[in-house]
Symmetry: C2
Subunit: 117 residues, 2 copies
């Protein structure tokens, strides 16, 4: 295989697997929601609503459902009065933590790059 073909093959594979990941993390809010669940294991609906600046309850509800379907988060209902609901990362979801941290680190780097120190 020529070096050129090698690059092509690597790129195609990279593009496809990155896309697989982005299919789960798509939309405006998913990453932020996951970040909210990264520290401190359990959060309630209204906690996340506060963490993620600007999100509406409608959107939060929708995004949480999608993340649950993709087995990234787990929803558990406690039979208190009124009902309490806990959200947390699943074991699978926790494999995203390094990525979120990496993103946060890059956010810092980028801020320095743009603002200058």
């Amino acid at each position: 295989m020529s070096p050129h073909e090698d690059f092509q093959t690597r790129r195609k594979h990279l593009m496809r697997t990155v896309q697989d990941a982005m299919d789960v993390l798509n939309g405006k809010w998913k990453i932020a929601i996951i970040a909210s669940l990264c520290c401190f294991t359990k959060r309630r609906f209204s906690d996340i609503l506060n963490d993620v600046v600007g999100i509406s309850n409608r959107m939060l509800s929708k995004e949480l459902k999608e993340l649950e379907i993709n087995q990234v988060i787990k929803r558990s209902v406690l039979n208190t009065q009124p009902v309490t609901v806990h959200y947390e990362l699943t074991e699978h979801g926790k494999t995203l933590q390094p990525l979120i941290e990496g993103l946060a680190d890059w956010g810092v780097i980028h801020h320095k790059q743009i603002v200058g120190t």
Copy 2:
């Protein structure tokens, strides 16, 4: 500082810096475009158009501009006939490579998780 406050502080910081990163990588296409530039340093407009499945030239043009403004990619015009344009990651943009790789790795993990090996 109590452990609880510590968590709060860490989360706030995490959320903010993750947001800084996502401000640059927002929209449907940025990550895929950067992935296309990760292997093989230079790509032409039409190359990226082919790499990123589904994107239109309109969107590609728009997203490339934003990435250039954020100093993630560099655009260079070669005075051939007709004009050739090369896009490549800047030094700053290259600091995103580990993240893209991480995303790709997670894509593989997730695919296994959902499909089952």
